[in-house]
């Protein structure tokens, strides 16, 4: 028991929580924007991988870090545009297209990696983002190291949550986006283009997912591995449900999830008799459990996964 207290009271634990949460926050906000507009984006896992790779490749080829982030974002938006066009005006199955995009983005990243580095066994490293302590705030016990001694990308993640909430609930664009996910016919009656709004939302959301992937290569680690996203995209989809499609609650979900993840890593050496795989399983099982608990209070966007075709009811 005292060991557990030690873990929870250590500054490095809380810093790790926020660090682990950062890519999930980007990805969860991205998926949330897509789903609020009525589009389930199962391309998320692949788009994160493509973003992780594109951002890393840009920096490895000599771009400044922030342009690497921009490269990732543009890559994600390109896949988002493809997803949006196929699922909105063409009305194809969001499940099939999403999984197809995940496969396309993943394999494109692998193919391009092999082209760029034909015979490399250890992936080359780049100089990643460094923590940027915020004066005064960084000295607060526990909270300081957790929230105010992070890399700029983590600060950006929190900024994205605020921006998403602000745009969704305080601007006409946000109102239109939410309406297009609830009742597209009403939006069309207003003279707005349902397809344009949805494609725009999927592109913006996919851009964020890709930045979430790039966080892994440009901030959390310093090189690209094939397996590095490792289901984070799917977990982000679960977090959107857990957060009842609201940015604030989804942020809370991501932090909770990350706290749990950071905790299990630190618990492993304390219980050597338990196979480490059990600990690695817990985050996935926790996500499933969260889905079961939260699904009872359904607040699903009314038109999620329903393609819109003019003149049809």
């Amino acid at each position: 028991m005292p060991e557990i207290l030690d873990i929870v009271l250590s500054a490095s634990f809380w810093a790790a929580v926020v660090r682990i949460a950062s890519p999930l926050i980007f990805a969860t906000m991205g998926e949330l924007i897509c789903e609020r507009a009525g589009v389930l984006n199962l391309g998320i896992e692949g788009i994160m991988i493509a973003g992780a790779f594109a951002g890393w490749l840009g920096v490895w080829l000599g771009l400044p870090l922030w342009l690497g982030v921009a490269t990732a974002m543009v890559t994600g938006m390109a896949f988002g545009a493809l997803h949006g066009v196929l699922t909105c005006p063409l009305g194809l199955s969001q499940h099939v297209v999403g999984l197809g995009i995940t496969l396309l983005a993943t394999s494109s990243a692998s193919f391009a990696y092999r082209l760029a580095l034909p015979r490399v066994t250890t992936p080359p490293r780049i100089e990643p983002f460094q923590p940027l302590p915020i004066p005064f705030l960084a000295d607060i016990p526990l909270l300081g190291p957790a929230f105010f001694v992070q890399t700029p990308l983590t600060y950006l993640a929190f900024g994205v949550v605020a921006a998403t909430a602000l745009i969704l609930y305080r601007t006409p664009l946000g109102l239109a986006l939410r309406a297009v996910g609830e009742n597209p016919q009403a939006v069309e009656a207003q003279g707005l283009s349902v397809h344009a709004l949805r494609i725009g939302a999927v592109m913006a959301g996919s851009g964020l997912m890709a930045v979430g992937g790039a966080f892994l290569t440009l901030s959390a680690f310093n090189s690209f591995f094939f397996e590095m996203v490792n289901g984070r995209g799917w977990i982000a989809i679960a977090l959107v449900v857990f957060g009842a499609w609201r940015p604030g609650k989804a942020l809370l979900g991501a932090l909770l999830f990350a706290a749990f993840d950071a905790f299990q890593i630190r618990l492993q050496p304390l219980a050597p008799a338990i196979p480490y795989q059990i600990f690695l399983m817990l985050p996935f099982l926790l996500s499933i459990l969260a889905l079961v608990v939260m699904s009872r209070r359904a607040s699903v966007p009314g038109a999620l996964m329903i393609p819109f075709n003019r003149g049809e009811r």
Binding site: L86, L92, L104, F111, R114, G231, Q277, M281, S295
Partner: protein, 348 residues
Amino acid sequence: MRLEPIANPTILRTLGFPVAALGFTTLVAMGLAALAGGAPLTVLGLMAEGAAGSQFALLETLNRATPLIFTGLAIAVAFRARLWNIGAEAQLYAGALVTAALGAGLLPWPAAVLSPTLAFLAALAGALTLLGPTILKTRFGVDEVVTTLLLNFVMLLVVSMLLEGPMKDPMALGWPQSAALIPEARLPRIAGLRLHWGFGLALLAAVATWALMTRTTLGFEMRAVGANRDAAAFAGIPVAAVLAKTALVSGGLAALAGYSEVAGAKGGLTLDLSPGFGYTGIIVAMLALLNPLGVVVTAIFVAGVFVGADSMSRAAGVPSYLADILLATALLTMVTAIMLARHRIRRG
């Protein structure tokens, strides 16, 4: 713009768009080959030769197609009822686990008894693996896409844990793998060829699945639930029960892929048993338009692309990930083509 259904599409339309989709995929293949510094036509030729240029190549393709037929059938059955089973990978490993655990000497029975028992128990394990998420869906409204996806990761960790723990082969030096199956548990070769009877079993499963979907009441109910769940419920079809039965069939079929790989191809279980057969099954099923007999054809095609790309990669140096890009492109263009064949795009 809006989409307008065409009541009676012409033959030209029905065939033209899918052919154009395949043509586009071929162009992508040539473009990527050129990008990687290969001569496009040579690369295509090497792929075709590697997939079907010799008896060895052809048998290799059929071996690779065997698990894909099973997972393709699993997806076809589930998607037909609109049960989004993305967890065929987990169900495959459930079947493989049971086969490896019981087939390595625990049940010292003659082959005629042992083989069907193993196949049945493996299928049962896969069926139960999918039943869980399906019950969560019908009872609590939990989206099965996410739960089945997440279970893939859980199952892989379970396999890893067992292979490093109780199922670890003491003879394997540190490498996590299960003990070898006893000869009675192995699937024999077909007519002495380099092809095991798992392939025969897969063909049998395809015909049985086709009969189930088109010739039985359950098949009709599954299609009705898939076409319109509310209408099916209104017509008195017990939707939850039909989805549960669909899950049992789908999970069982996916698990047979694991059974056939362990008992037929490998003779034991390792962590890299499946290079994503469960996910590739989705492509196989979609390209076959969810038709069980079509799955056999598309599984062989998809396997050919993989085997051909591997062989081409060794000869021409173009990364074999080309195969994955091509299959993703084929999937996306084919679903688009099929939609365009049945709809007209109208302005305004």
